[in-house]
């Protein structure tokens, strides 16, 4: 058994240390957000946050996570109460098939947590890592800009708990 910190909870999982985090999230913990896309770190569909930084969960052995904090899209919000970034994806209708969406949201989340007022150039550069096949890129950019604008203007006031520590919505 391996103990890992997922979305602010310590979870004990029955997996060998080399098992990619992606399989632990999806199979052991039954979380839907992180997606299998390539298993090679080329598409970003499996992106989660590790100590606040975006990583490919398909390439991250679960045995390497002692003392580290993993956050998935399930930590942000729910359908009934989406996070500001998720709300922006819905408002911009920034999906077609949506298979890449969770990875897109998590990579953008990491950017906005460190750089809430990220510019268009910064957003494009950061999102380069993640593939979308339906061609919803322009909408994804609009969604991230929309959330950035909301957060950037909010940064003069106390930060929103959900965006700053990311633990819960």
């Amino acid at each position: 058994m391996i103990a890992i910190d997922i979305n602010g909870r310590s979870r004990s999982v029955d997996a060998t240390p080399e098992t990619p985090l992606l399989y632990v999230l999806r199979d052991n913990l039954k979380l839907n957000g992180a997606k299998y896309g390539c298993g090679l770190g080329q598409c970003g569909a499996c992106t989660v946050l590790l100590d606040g930084k975006p990583v490919f969960s398909c390439l991250t052995p679960v045995g390497s996570l002692a003392g580290r904090r993993v956050r998935t899209i399930e930590s942000l919000g729910t359908e009934a109460s989406p996070s500001p970034l998720q709300r922006a994806f819905i408002d911009e209708q920034a999906a077609q098939c949506g298979y890449c969406s969770a990875g897109m949201v998590m990579r953008a989340q990491a950017l906005l947590e460190t750089n809430p007022g990220a510019s268009d150039t910064e957003i494009r550069a950061r999102m380069q890592t993640n593939l979308c096949r339906c061609g919803t890129h322009m909408r994804i950019l609009r969604a991230v800009r929309r959330a950035a604008a909301a957060l950037g203007s909010a940064s003069a006031s106390p930060p929103q708990a959900g965006m700053r520590d990311g633990a819960v919505k």
């Binding site: 299998y36 080329q42 359908e79 096949r133 061609g135």
Partner: protein, 734 residues
């Protein structure tokens, strides 16, 4: 451009262009109706309760089409809610399921709105008429004194009765009438109005949204060992140690078809890796030399069909132009590799799949497993976007074979990335040749066009279409392909120009033999034929010294085509953009009977790396009556960006021993860094006109607009795709 923007009075509201006057000679959605059958898929399934059921649980609407991420659930729900006069949320929609829905074949070819949308529109309208008639009779009031609102029929005196209280289980078990009393489009409050997609909230919050997210309690995980190349057969596989690996439950083997079932998913992956290392294969036939693929295809026997032979009165040609175009094999490139689930209870087999046709898949799986079709049920569950016939059907076939060998538990088969990239059926490589004669005014008076292509559909149907069947001890073989006939066509889709060409011959050279596995991908032959025709229209315009937009209009009579061409040019500011600045234009009506789409775009300056980038693109589209404006915009924009990706990057690679574009490093496609700065879409609404479908309309004009912009910037005409840096360097452009 100073000319009137549109041929009819129009106004722009919220980015949607509203045309105030209907099309001449056409009532609401009338063009879908023949004299003796109700319209759309109602013709094949006329029973009203095939489409709409009302009971104590509420209103359920059925479609044989599937949600592929194109927004189908939302659009069909809008249609049903509108004609039934109920709120959007009151509709429960059931999609493709062989046990529950009409058999509407494949969700493909931009047919969902014309076929299923039209059926639901008319069925819902007729159901509403029946409800009104029953209420009128019970109240002894005239029908036209009653109204419907929020799922109730209301009388002028304030009495109201709920729909569910007006009917019995059998009331709607009656055939649809040929004609429906549809609502006037002016009364629409849901159709044509923005409706947020029903599926997006779950997709952006980690909710269960995909077949990959299904986890029945009894589920086990399977992986399939695939041969290293087409036609390779298994010589030896010592699986003694693999069977002892942690979690391994069963190894299934039938000839060269081998799969492993494990308790945990990662255990199945590890077992697959061990099998890959242990398996010894007899190679299949060598693949043809990639550098000579177009000549190889042209040298294969072809079945030739003259699909257009027009000989109207025409001027003599005073000059002649000709050109040849090539396009490579292109993959579907789904972000999620294919997946299938199946459960065999000893008698009945249930299969969950993200393939595009549940009924054809059922026939194929029945053939593959030897089960009677009535013992096989196929249920569509959404997967990653497919854009055509990718590995989804094959993964379902794999799951069916594995479940058959492991009864009593649900078996989930998930393909690996390299399996999807190397085994999915690609969109075929094609060659076209065009020759035009111009009169003294520069107008085209003679047009000769040839297109060479493999089939664009090897879909199931037959079990031989499923990959697993090829590897069985008693192997199944792919049936000999047959061309998809005109007017839709396959390789010859959109091979007939919509332009007025007095002398014109178009020949489809259908090549049955397939050195590389191919099938349907978004737009079929339209991508290549429109690339060729619209590139060549620009060549003719340039030869004459004509403006490309004016030259197109000069050869176009269809008023709706003229409208989208004019609108795209106007919104782009075509008349103000300097020739030579890297602007390009293209137009097509998909299948010559679907949506109209015109594109004007501007290339960014070409850098030293030879990488093209579109700076700005303006798209205009006419899909008939709009259902969900943002749904159309999303499809048109997405189609443009995907087609731009095909055009700038994509080609399947191989060597003699097999496919080599195994992952996203070997098969690069569009990423955020090469997006346009601006992308805008303008929609022309045609209230009451038939739904034309939208999903493939921008695929074809995109490559031509890019190639035309490249010519505008450089005076070099590139006629082979992709337009990638090596091609530009070879042309001396970088």
């Amino acid at each position: 451009m100073n000319a009137p923007l549109l041929t009819r009075r129009a106004s722009l509201v919220g980015g949607v262009l509203l045309v105030g006057i209907g099309l001449p000679g056409r009532g609401a959605h009338a063009a879908e109706t023949t004299d003796d059958k109700p319209p759309g898929s109602l013709a094949q399934f006329p029973l009203l309760d095939s489409w709409v059921r009302i009971d104590a649980a509420g209103i359920t609407v059925f479609t044989g089409k599937a949600e592929l991420g194109q927004g189908l659930r939302t659009a069909l729900t809008q249609i049903a809610a509108e004609e039934l006069s109920v709120p959007f949320d009151a509709i429960h929609l059931v999609t493709a399921d062989t046990a529950r829905t009409p058999n509407e074949g494949y969700t493909a070819g931009s047919h969902s709105m014309p076929d299923s949308g039209t059926a639901i529109l008319n069925a819902a309208s007729q159901v509403r008429a029946i409800l009104l008639a029953i209420a009128a009779s019970s109240w002894s009031l005239p029908v036209d004194s009653l109204t419907t609102r929020d799922g109730t029929v209301r009388a002028p005196d304030g009495r109201a009765v709920r729909y569910g209280d007006l009917i019995t289980d059998t009331t709607l078990h009656q055939n649809a009438l040929v004609r429906s009393a549809l609502k006037p489009p002016a009364d629409y409050t849901i159709i044509g109005h923005a409706q947020p997609r029903v599926d997006i909230p779950a997709k952006v919050t980690g909710g269960p949204a995909y077949i990959q997210d299904m986890r029945p309690n009894d589920m086990v995980h399977a992986r399939i060992l695939r041969p290293p190349s087409y036609g390779a057969t298994l010589i030896a596989l010592d699986d003694t140690e693999i069977a002892k690996m942690p979690g391994v439950l069963k190894i299934v083997r039938d000839g060269s078809f081998v799969g492993v079932i494990a308790k945990r998913e990662w255990q199945a992956v590890q077992a697959l890796r061990a099998m890959v290392a242990a398996a010894r294969w007899k190679p299949g036939p060598k693949l043809p030399e990639r550098a000579r693929i177009y000549d190889t295809l042209l040298a294969l026997p072809s079945e030739d069909t003259t699909i257009l032979d027009r000989l109207d009165v025409a001027d003599a040609a005073v000059s002649e132009l000709s050109a040849r175009f090539n396009r490579p094999y292109i993959g579907h490139g789904s972000i999620g590799p294919s997946c299938g689930l199946a459960l065999f209870d000893g008698t009945n087999l249930t299969v969950w799949s993200h393939a595009q046709g549940m009924f054809p898949l059922r026939a194929a799986i029945a053939g593959l497993t030897g089960l009677p079709p009535d013992k096989v049920r196929c249920i569509h569950v959404e997967g990653s976007g497919c854009y055509g016939h990718n590995g989804a059907d094959d993964a379902a076939g794999d799951a069916a074979l594995m479940a058959r060998a492991f009864p009593g538990q649900t078996v989930r088969v998930q393909w690996m990335r390299e399996q999807e990239n190397t085994w999915e059926p690609y969109s075929p490589a094609m060659v076209t040749r065009v020759r035009a004669g111009l009169n003294g005014a520069g107008n085209i008076v003679d047009w000769n066009y040839d297109v060479w292509s493999n089939t664009h559909s090897n879909r199931p149907g037959g079990a031989g279409a499923l990959l697993a069947g090829w590897s069985l001890e008693k192997p199944l073989t792919l049936p000999r392909p047959v061309p998809i006939p005109q007017p839709e066509g396959g390789g010859d889709r959109n091979a007939i120009p919509l332009y007025v060409l007095p002398h014109a011959t178009v020949v489809h050279h259908f090549i049955p033999e397939m050195p590389i596995r191919v099938s349907a991908e978004r737009g079929l032959g339209a991508y290549m034929n429109i690339f060729s025709i619209e590139s060549f229209m620009d060549e003719c315009a340039a030869h004459t010294g004509a403006d490309p937009v004016e030259y197109r209009l000069r050869h176009m009579q269809d008023p709706r085509a003229r409208d989208v061409i004019t609108l795209a040019a106007e919104r782009f500011g075509w008349s103000k953009a300097a020739p030579g600045s890297g602007r390009g234009f293209a137009f097509a009506r998909y299948k010559n009977l679907g949506a109209y789409c015109a594109i004007a775009l501007q290339l960014a300056p070409i850098g030293d790396d030879g990488q093209l980038r579109v700076a700005r693109a303006v798209l205009a589209v006419d899909s008939g009556q709009i259902i969900n404006p943002d749904g159309i915009r999303n499809q048109i924009e997405g189609g443009f960006l995907q087609s731009m990706s095909w055009t700038l990057f994509e080609q399947v690679s191989w060597n003699a021993d097999g496919i080599t574009s195994r992952d996203w490093a070997g098969y690069p496609m569009l990423r955020f860094g090469l997006l346009p700065d601006q992308l805008e879409t303008h929609i022309i609404d045609r209230p009451g006109a038939p739904f034309l479908g939208t999903g493939e309309a921008s695929q074809g004009p995109t490559p031509a607009a890019i190639a035309n912009a490249l010519f505008d910037a450089t005076h070099l005409r590139l006629r082979e795709l992709p337009l990638n840096p090596p091609r530009l360097r070879a042309a001396g452009l970088a």
